[in-house]
Subunit: 133 residues, 2 copies
């Protein structure tokens, strides 16, 4: 065992670090998605809002890193379908395996396992409330 026995792990972590990437990979592990369909799914399952800009960013990075592929049908209106590469499929299985350990840890830590909303989003919620009045 060399000194660098964790470098592969580190690289992998870098590839999947990003607020929505795990969620995206796990979603695509079950079925392929079109762009807006995926956007809607992410919003629903995580009970918060992901912007199109960020979804595009994360998908592009995952594509660049060999986790997802996209197929564009040259139609109008456009149709683009995202799916996992073989290695992306394998990764999604590993991620789901980690879920049990993560839930276990969250329970020990008495942590809230749902998605966080940040300060800016709280401000916006406040603003929405005020705009109603």
């Amino acid at each position: 065992m060399t000194n660098n026995f964790h470098m592969g792990t580190n690289y992998l972590l870098k590839v999947i670090t990003g607020k929505w990437k795990v969620s995206i990979i796990c979603a695509l592990g079950l079925k392929d998605y079109r762009y807006l369909e995926l956007l809607k799914y992410e919003n629903d399952v995580n009970h918060t809002k992901i912007s199109k800009k960020v979804l595009t960013e994360q998908l592009n990075q995952l594509e660049e890193d060999g986790i997802v592929t996209k197929k564009s049908y040259g139609t109008i209106p456009p149709k683009v379908v995202y799916s996992l590469t073989p290695i992306g499929q394998e990764l999604s299985k590993h991620l789901i395996n980690l879920n049990f350990l993560g839930e276990n840890l969250a329970q020990v830590n008495q942590a809230n396992i749902s998605f966080d909303i940040n300060a800016q989003q709280v401000k916006n919620l406040h603003k929405e409330e005020q705009d109603k009045n």
Copy 2:
């Protein structure tokens, strides 16, 4: 299977996201470390420099998240020893399991798997060169 089958994974990822955390966990998986000893180890194995502030931050977060524990001997000069919790031990095994997949992915992507140095560090290297002249 609920819609939230990846939330535990996401929580776990959040806990281990941080430039040095994987490296720290894997190191402590092999043996316990004192503070400066760990600092030196991280610098050596990653061929770059980790500041004491950041090491302290990451250790504190890992402690708060139930991955590491520290034991202070009340001596002068101080002696503090860091080690993994049981769940931290389990985590380190999972991380090492991911190493193969990560190396595999890096090879497919023809990516350089070593630690990156960032723009600021490049600037500092330049500065050092210039200061010699």
